[in-house]
């Protein structure tokens, strides 16, 4: 790991899901990351450079709420383009970290979402390097990538690496079924850990803007043309309002207009924001973003498929139709083992609801049908598959 990260103290281990700090405490106290906590006062959201502050990561808190950390190093590139493009993505994702409603009569809590910003790219632009960096800074997810000069233009290729997705608890769907007098539990987690987004082809005007000495200008007011300074590698984001973000960069405080990187709507922000929401326990918010990804035909199939599956996962907490999105995922690619696992999970969840004997028999029959038809997707030694087979029972039962 590069030396620049050495000074950062990580106050928690990834192996244990972090509980968030108590109400009324704010992420800016750490001086390290952008965060939104439920019930937090909007102005107390901070986004600063890792290097500028070098302070410890947010401390563990007391309430047992989940805390999710996204690490966003600069995109690898020649020149400042990668850094600035990553700044834009970073702030756009930060804007998706919504707060719990205020007032909050139902006591809704979302835990904490953090965005760690790093003005240096990963040592190597690949998933393994992202995992290594996440281990150093204590992140749960890394959004990283590279800005490519290609064929006379610039393409931003972003990737998402999830860490220890299987160890998470907020993003799991579990059902417990009584089987021959003994409880059997079945779980699915996030569908996969490594994603490649559709390349974002930067408009030439955006390239010109991101490469200009002015970089990302800080304006005196929203809509103003008066430039106060530039967003450098050290800044804090204070407030969001539509496409505008209130920034503190050194002594300069002003408004930054976030440009659209390309004409086509990218799935990066919605998908990453959706997963953060899911892992924070903001199920409804996650579903909202994931639905957008699922219907984005420009997104790669694996992203759309998993958006459907995670939508079902979110609905396992909030209620609502789960089989619909699972079937749509199946239509996109009928040969994904994980989609079949989710479909099986749906039938097991229905069995877990304790239906009458006839319904139960029908559900088991449907489950057996799926398993017989799609056994080619699984290793005969797959323990998950074996467990579902056990739950499905035999025809003579």
């Amino acid at each position: 790991m590069r030396s620049a990260l050495k000074g950062i103290r990580v106050s928690r281990s990834r192996a244990h899901r972090r509980p968030a700090s108590g109400h009324g405490q704010h992420a800016h106290r750490c001086g390290l990351a952008a965060s939104f906590r439920d019930n937090a006062v909007p102005a107390l959201v901070a986004l600063v450079s890792l290097f500028a502050i070098g302070a410890p990561a947010p401390g563990a808190a007391q309430t047992g709420e989940p805390q999710v950390t996204l690490y966003v190093p600069a995109l690898a590139s020649d020149g400042p383009l990668g850094l600035r493009a990553a700044t834009v993505l970073n702030l756009q994702i930060w804007k998706t970290l919504r707060r719990a409603p205020y007032p909050n009569p139902n006591g809704i809590t979302f835990g904490t979402g953090l965005v760690l910003w790093d003005p240096s790219p990963l040592p190597q632009a690949n998933h393994d390097s992202a995992v290594a960096a996440a281990n150093v800074v204590g992140a749960d997810m890394v959004l990283w990538g590279k800005a490519w000069r290609y064929g006379g233009g610039v393409a931003v290729q972003a990737y998402l690496t999830l860490i220890d997705a299987a160890a998470d608890t907020m993003d799991r769907w579990t059902a417990r079924v009584e089987r021959q007098g003994a409880p059997v539990s079945l779980t699915v987690g996030l569908p996969r850990e490594r994603y490649e987004f559709a390349p974002i082809i930067l408009d030439s005007a955006v390239v010109e803007s991101l490469e200009s000495p002015a970089g990302l200008p800080i304006m005196a007011a929203k809509g103003s043309t008066e430039i106060l300074g530039e967003v450098g590698s050290s800044f804090r984001a204070l407030q969001q309002d539509g496409d505008w973000t209130l920034i503190q960069s050194g002594p300069v405080r002003g408004w930054l207009h976030l440009p659209q990187l390309s004409r086509k709507r990218s799935e990066v922000v919605d998908f990453v924001g959706g997963i953060i929401r899911l892992r924070r326990g903001d199920w409804a918010g996650a579903a909202q973003l994931l639905e957008r990804v699922a219907s984005n035909s420009a997104a790669p199939y694996p992203i759309r498929i998993d958006a459907h599956l995670m939508l079902a996962l979110a609905r396992s907490r909030t209620g609502g139709d789960r089989l619909g999105p699972i079937r749509r995922a199946y239509e996109l690619n009928p040969h994904e083992a994980m989609t079949t696992k989710y479909e099986c999970m749906e039938y097991v969840a229905r069995l877990a609801a304790g239906p009458d004997a006839a319904t139960s028999a029908r559900l088991r029959q449907q489950l057996r049908g799926i398993l017989d038809e799609r056994s080619y997707l699984f290793s005969p030694q797959d323990p998950w598959f074996a467990k579902v087979r056990q739950l499905a029972g035999t025809r003579n039962e």
Partner: protein, 528 residues
């Protein structure tokens, strides 16, 4: 009548059988079944057979030109002056045999009157009688070491092993279409032949009584993988080592010092690059070992093909072209790295077999030829690149490097816009694909920001397809093959949606083939 020994590659057996049947019909005794008498090793038997026949008919084909065993037999036949080559595929014979006239039976219909076949018969007949003593022949004599010299009417091999009687006519390969000239059998030659025959019989009898151990290397199903043939292997027992090649029946002779007691020390190591590893713990030792030769079974696990060998693209003779090519290769490299890491995190590919395959995937860029670095005028597209190689050359590189695929092609400006470039790649996947897709996958893609994904992912699609085929060749379980194909399926579907004008033909063909493979896998799954 001339006794003919036929040297061929086993996969060609059906085609060779027709030649054998016709020769037998014409009265030639033909040896072509490689039976090994109990107690003798194959090389001993071969030596005996080659010594006892008058003619060795070497059948060159796509398979046999790659067979070390056939090449060894051909070389020995050439050295003995008994070499008659024929072609049954349109392939050039191995380099050292190219100067010898070779009858082309690639289009032979089986007719005895076919001029090419008649030339073969004449060549065989010409070897019936050893020629006149030294000095009477009409070809230039070679030295005592059997060197090759240019004779009249074409190249002829003139073998003169010092222990053998001198032969002055039709040594090596007699020029085809030239009937052999009857020679005079001298008394001393007859004596030598009788002595040789008696000696051979005696040797053969001796071999029968002296058991020699050996192994037969199989895959996990007990079958002989055709690719094993010709693989160089070293057998070690303690400090003792013996090297050799595996024959076409997957047999390999062991040092005679191997005993049952010492068998556990046996270690079989394939030469690096051969593409095979041997599980030396998987022997099944028959009760009568070592008396029964070649009865010890070992599992030969074919190693995965993991290399994409990038051959020099042609057309890289200007700085803008080289820059465009480097951008193209850069995104392919990046794709391979991250695709590999994505696959490694796929649960269905987490097993030992697939993990071994995935962890070693790599691009190897083969060095450019000097003329590729020149700044001279553009050469014709196709020259010097993958499409400029003939099938045999491509197969040879693919096999020798044990590559998953060879990537090559051309780079040029777009005809309609000289500021933009296009890449015409060919991905050669050798023998992996037995389907209509064929061995070469052509991909013509533009190099521009809007085509960033399609250009890169079309290549990734072909790579994943090849990985799936290799996984199937290796006998990996259906879920592993499916995981590769499923990934390919998703890429193909994404490409389809991002190609409003429809998929390019070659990409559509791969996509169709991926669908077909997946349908077969899912269909098998449904069968009771």
């Amino acid at each position: 009548m001339t006794t003919v020994f036929v040297s061929y590659a086993r996969p060609d057996r059906a085609r060779v059988e027709r030649i054998v049947a016709t020769l037998e019909k014409l009265g030639f005794p033909v040896f072509w079944d490689r039976e090994i008498p109990p107690g003798s090793t194959w090389d001993q038997v071969l030596e005996h057979q080659l010594a006892s026949v008058q003619c060795v008919l070497v059948v060159w084909s796509l398979q046999s030109v790659e067979s070390d065993w056939v090449k060894t037999e051909a070389a020995e036949a050439k050295r003995l002056g008994k070499f008659v080559p024929v072609l049954i595929d349109d392939v050039p014979p191995p380099l050292e045999f190219r100067r010898i006239q070779t009858a082309n039976l690639a289009n032979w219909t089986g007719s005895e009157d076919d001029p090419e076949f008649r030339s073969v018969v004449e060549a065989i007949s010409g070897l019936d009688v050893p020629a006149a003593p030294a000095g009477e022949g009409d070809v230039v004599e070679a030295g005592q070491d059997g060197a090759v010299e240019e004779g009249r009417g074409g190249a002829a091999t003139v073998p003169r092993p010092s222990a053998r009687p001198a032969v002055s006519h039709a040594r090596g390969a007699p020029p085809l279409r030239t009937p052999g000239r009857p020679g005079v059998r001298t008394r001393w030659l007859a004596t030598a032949a009788v002595t040789l025959a008696i000696g051979g019989i005696a040797a053969w009898l001796a071999l029968r009584s002296r058991p020699s151990p050996g192994v037969r290397l199989t895959d996990a199903n007990g079958a002989c993988p055709t690719e094993l043939e010709g693989t160089r292997l070293t057998a070690r027992i303690g400090a003792e080592a013996m090297s050799g090649t595996i024959d076409e029946d997957c047999r390999f002779a062991l040092p005679s010092s191997v005993t049952r007691e010492r068998l556990e020390q046996l270690e079989l190591v394939a030469d690096s690059g051969s593409g095979f590893v041997f599980d030396t713990h998987a022997y099944v030792v028959p009760p009568d070992f070592p008396r029964s030769i070649f009865q010890v079974l070992a599992v030969a696990a074919a190693s995965p093909r993991v290399e994409i060998a990038v051959l020099p693209y042609s057309g890289l003779n200007t700085e803008p072209r080289r820059a465009a090519f480097n951008e193209f290769l850069g995104i392919l490299n990046d794709k391979l790295t991250n695709l590999t890491q994505e696959l490694a995190a796929t649960p269905e590919l987490a097993g030992e077999d697939a993990a071994r395959q995935i962890a070693r995937l790599k691009f190897d860029t083969l060095p450019a030829k000097p003329d590729e670095r020149s700044t001279g005028p553009s050469r014709a597209i196709g020259e010097g690149d993958l499409s400029g190689l003939d099938l045999e050359q491509k197969l040879r590189i693919w096999r020798q490097r044990h590559s998953l695929g060879l990537l090559g092609g051309t780079l040029s400006e777009e005809p309609t816009d000289q500021r933009r470039f296009q890449v015409n790649s060919q991905i050669f996947i050798g023998d992996l694909d037995g389907t209509p897709l064929g061995r070469s996958i052509p991909l013509a893609m533009a190099i521009g920001p809007e085509e960033f994904r399609n250009t890169r992912d079309a290549h990734a699609l072909a790579l994943l397809y090849a990985l799936a085929l290799d996984a199937r060749r290796l006998g990996y379980s259906p879920d592993v093959v499916t995981a590769y194909l499923s990934k390919a399926y998703s890429i193909a579907q994404t490409l389809r949606e991002s190609s409003p004008g429809g998929l390019p033909d070659a990409v559509a063909r791969i996509a169709a083939q991926v669908n077909s493979e997946l349908s077969q896998l899912s269909g098998r799954s449904r069968r009771p």
